[in-house]
C-alpha cells in the first residue's frame, strides 16, 4: 500500500500554486488547454487541499461562529427557564420569527437535493463539481430547520409526546395534524438526504483514506467510513444503480416535504393562509432561495479554498441561469396569490394586505425590489459570469426570501379575523439572537464538514475527465463529453 511518503508528517502540504481566475480563463479562451486537463495528482491535491490544509483564518472563523452559537444556546436556555414570554410573541400572534426561520431553512435545504438529483438524472455534465456542496448544504440546513420547531415549542420537556412511542396510557400522536406530518416529513427527508450525501461520499472517502498521510488524525475514521470500498468494477456497477435509485426517490421526497411545511399554514382557516396555491408556491420559493444559497456557498468555497480550477465560472453561470428561471417562477406564484385575494375582495384578507403594505411596507417593498432586481440583473451575461456579482445576488435573494417567509407568517397573525385583538409584533432580542445563532450554527457545521470529509466530488470529476476528450472541429478544438449508456 504506497501512499504519498513525501508529505511531511504534520500534514502541512506544500502550498499548491493554484491558477487564479484570469490566467485560467485566458487559457480556455485560447482553446489550447481544455477544461479538465488537470493532471490526476493535481486534481487530488487541489480537491483534498481544503480538507487537509487548515489556515489560521479558518480557526479564527470557526471560533467566532462557535461563540455566536454558544450565545444562541444561552438565549435558548434563558427562554426555557423564563418561559416563551421572553420572545415578543403574544396573543394572538402565536407564531413569529422562529416559524419563518424554520420555513426559510427547510426551503434552503431543498435545492441541495433537487439540484444534484435533477442534474444527476439529466446527465448535465457541469453538475459534477457542485454536487457535494449542494447535498451537504441540504443536510445541514435541515438540521438547523429541525431545531426551530423544538425551540419554538412551549413545553420543551414534553416534546416526546410528538413521537408515536408506545406508552402505558396508550396516548398516540394525532396524525391528522399538519405538525405531525411535518415531523414525519422532516425525519424522512433528513435520513434520505443524509443517505444520499453519504452514498455520494463513499468513493471520495476511500480516495481520502488513501491520500491521507499515515499519522494524520483523520486516517482512523476515514478507514472506517470508507466501509472497505475498493473501487472494484462490480462495486461501481452497484454504486451507479443505487445512486440512480436515490436520485429518483429523493426527487419525490423533497417537494413533498416543503408542501407539507406549507400545509402548516394552508390547512388552517386563517384568512391569508387558507389558499390552495401554498403548496407549489412554497416549493418554488424553496428551490429559488436554495439555488441562491448554493451559488453563494459555491462562490465562498471557491474563494476561500482556491478551487477555481474545480468550480469554474461556467458552472456558476449555469447555476445562475437556473436561478433566473426560478426567480421568474416565484414571481409568477407570488402574483397569483396576490391577485386572487386582491380580486376576491374578502374583507379580512384585504384588511391584511392593507396592513401589510402600510405597517410592513418597507419589508414588503425591499423583498419585491430585490426579487425584481435579481431577475433584471441575472439577464445580463456580464453579471452571470462574475462570481462576485453572483455572490451578492445570492445573499440578497436569501435575505429577500427570509423576509417573504416572515411576511407570510406575521402580518396575518397580527391582523386576524377578530379585529378587537389586532396587535403588532417585533421580534425580541432573544428571538433575533437565536435566529442569527442558527445561521452561525449552519456555517459552523459546514466549516467542520469541509475539514472532516472531502467537499469536492473527486471521483465524479475524474470520471468526467476520463469520458471526455478534445476533438478538432474545423479550426477549433472543442471538448466532447462521452456518455457510457448508449
Amino acid at each position: 500500500m504506497s501512499s504519498r511518503e513525501d508529505i511531511p508528517a504534520d500534514e502541512r502540504l506544500p502550498a499548491v500554486e493554484t491558477v487564479r481566475g484570469q490566467a485560467l480563463d485566458a487559457g480556455i479562451q485560447a482553446g489550447k488547454e481544455s477544461d479538465f486537463s488537470i493532471s490526476e495528482d493535481r486534481l487530488n491535491d487541489i480537491s483534498l487541499r481544503p480538507m487537509f490544509y487548515t489556515t489560521k483564518t479558518y480557526y479564527v472563523l470557526t471560533i467566532i461562529l462557535a461563540l455566536i452559537v454558544a450565545w444562541g444556546a444561552a438565549c435558548w436556555g434563558y427562554q426555557i427557564v423564563m418561559g416563551m414570554g421572553v420572545t415578543d410573541l403574544r396573543h394572538p400572534v402565536f407564531w413569529g420569527l422562529y416559524i419563518s426561520a424554520f420555513v426559510f431553512w427547510v426551503g434552503v435545504s431543498h435545492s441541495g437535493t433537487m439540484v444534484s438529483s435533477i442534474l444527476r438524472l439529466s446527465k448535465a455534465n457541469w453538475r459534477r463539481p457542485i454536487l457535494r456542496g449542494a447535498e451537504a448544504m441540504t443536510v445541514f440546513s435541515l438540521l438547523v430547520a429541525g431545531l426551530f420547531p423544538v425551540i419554538h415549542v412551549g413545553r420543551l420537556w414534553r416534546i416526546y409526546y410528538m413521537f408515536p412511542l408506545p406508552n402505558q396510557r396508550e396516548l398516540w400522536v394525532n396524525f391528522r395534524s399538519p405538525l405531525a406530518w411535518d415531523m414525519a416529513a422532516i425525519f424522512v427527508y433528513l435520513t434520505s438526504a443524509f443517505i444520499f450525501l453519504f452514498v455520494g461520499l463513499l468513493p471520495d472517502i476511500a480516495l481520502a483514506r488513501d491520500y491521507c498521510p499515515a499519522k494524520n488524525w483523520r486516517k482512523g475514521y476515514l478507514k472506517f467510513l470508507a466501509l472497505g470500498w475498493r473501487g472494484s468494477h462490480r462495486q461501481w456497477i452497484v454504486y451507479e444503480k443505487v445512486s440512480l435509485y436515490l436520485a429518483i426517490f429523493i426527487l419525490m421526497i423533497a417537494p413533498s416535504v416543503h408542501t407539507i411545511v406549507s400545509w402548516d399554514f394552508a390547512m388552517s382557516i386563517t384568512p391569508n393562509w387558507h389558499t390552495s396555491i401554498f403548496g407549489p408556491y412554497f416549493v418554488v420559493g424553496a428551490i429559488y432561495s436554495g439555488i441562491a444559497g448554493v451559488i453563494t456557498l459555491m462562490v465562498t468555497l471557491r474563494w476561500i479554498f482556491n478551487l477555481d480550477e474545480i468550480i469554474r465560472v461556467t458552472h456558476l453561470t449555469n447555476l445562475s441561469k437556473v436561478l433566473l428561471l426560478m426567480s421568474i417562477m416565484w414571481g409568477y406564484f407570488y402574483f397569483t396569490e396576490f391577485i386572487t385575494s386582491w380580486y376576491g375582495n374578502n374583507p379580512t384578507e384585504t384588511a391584511i394586505w392593507r396592513w401589510q403594505t402600510d405597517r410592513f411596507g418597507p419589508m414588503l417593498f425591499t423583498m419585491l425590489g430585490i426579487n425584481i432586481f435579481s431577475i433584471a440583473a441575472l439577464a445580463f451575461d456580464s453579471v452571470r459570469k462574475s462570481p462576485g456579482k453572483l455572490f451578492v445576488i445570492g445573499i440578497l435573494v436569501n435575505v429577500a426570501m427570509f423576509i417573504e417567509r416572515y411576511l407570510i407568517v406575521v402580518p396575518v397573525l397580527t391582523h386576524r379575523d377578530n379585529p378587537f385583538t389586532w396587535t403588532d409584533y417585533i421580534p425580541s432580542f432573544v428571538e433575533s439572537s437565536i435566529a442569527v445563532a442558527a445561521m452561525a450554527w449552519f456555517l459552523l457545521l459546514y466549516a467542520l464538514f469541509v475539514k472532516i470529509l472531502p467537499i469536492v466530488t473527486v471521483s465524479d470529476i475524474r470520471e468526467g475527465n476520463a469520458l471526455s476528450c478534445d476533438m478538432a472541429f474545423g479550426n477549433r478544438h472543442i471538448r466532447v463529453h462521452g456518455d457510457a449508456e448508449e
Partner: protein
C-alpha cells in the same frame, strides 16, 4: 493458497489490451478484477453485464414503509379515537400523506441495504488493493493458484504496458 498479481496501468487502453491474452491463458472472468478510482463503463476492460436486482430491496423496503405508515396513521388513530373537529377517526387524506412519506423512506433504506448487500460493504478486512488507483491509475488484479501462473501473468502485464506489477501473498 491463492496469490494475487496487481498490475498498475496509466491508460485504460493498456489495461484493456492485457485482458485478451489473459483470457487466452484460460484465466476466467471471475479470476480477474478491475480496480479503478472512478467509474468506467462496463466492458471497457472487463465485461460484467451484471444486472443488479436492486429493485427487490427497494420494493421490500417500500412495502415495509407502507405498513408502518398504515399502522401509524391508521391503527393508532383508531385506538386513540377522539372526535377531533368532526374529522373521521382514521381519515384517509392524512393516511395518504403519512404512507407516502414512510413508503419513500422504506424505499431509500431498502436501496441503501441493497448497496451494502450487493457491493459487499462494509468489510474492513485487508482485501488485495493498491492505493495508486486513488491517483487516477487503473489496477488489474488477477488471482492465480501457483508460481507458474503468476510468472505468466506478470509477463503479459509488462508486455501490455503496466507501470508496476506487484505480487501479494495470501496465507490462507
Amino acid at each position: 493458497m491463492s496469490r494475487h498479481v496487481i498490475g498498475i496501468f496509466e491508460k485504460i487502453e493498456n489495461a484493456a489490451s492485457a485482458v485478451r491474452p489473459l483470457e487466452r491463458e484460460s484465466f476466467k472472468k471471475e479470476d480477474m478484477e478491475l480496480l479503478t478510482g472512478c467509474q468506467y463503463p462496463d466492458g471497457a476492460v472487463i465485461e460484467e453485464d451484471w444486472d443488479v436486482p436492486l429493485w427487490k430491496f427497494a420494493v421490500v423496503g417500500g412495502l415495509l414503509g407502507l405498513m408502518v405508515g398504515v399502522f401509524l396513521a391508521g391503527a393508532t388513530q383508531w385506538w386513540m379515537n377522539l372526535d377531533v373537529g368532526g374529522k373521521p377517526m382514521a381519515a384517509l387524506p392524512p393516511l395518504g400523506v403519512i404512507c407516502y412519506e414512510t413508503t419513500l423512506l422504506g424505499v431509500i433504506l431498502g436501496s441503501l441495504a441493497g448497496l451494502f448487500w450487493f457491493a459487499g460493504l462494509p468489510d474492513w478486512t485487508d482485501l488485495p488493493y493498491d492505493a495508486e488507483i486513488s491517483r487516477g491509475k487503473i489496477a488489474l488484479l488477477v488471482t492465480c493458484s501457483d508460481e507458474r501462473q503468476t510468472e505468466l501473468v506478470r509477463k503479459i502485464m509488462v508486455e501490455s504496458g503496466a507501470q508496476k506489477v506487484t505480487l501479494t501473498e495470501e496465507e490462507s
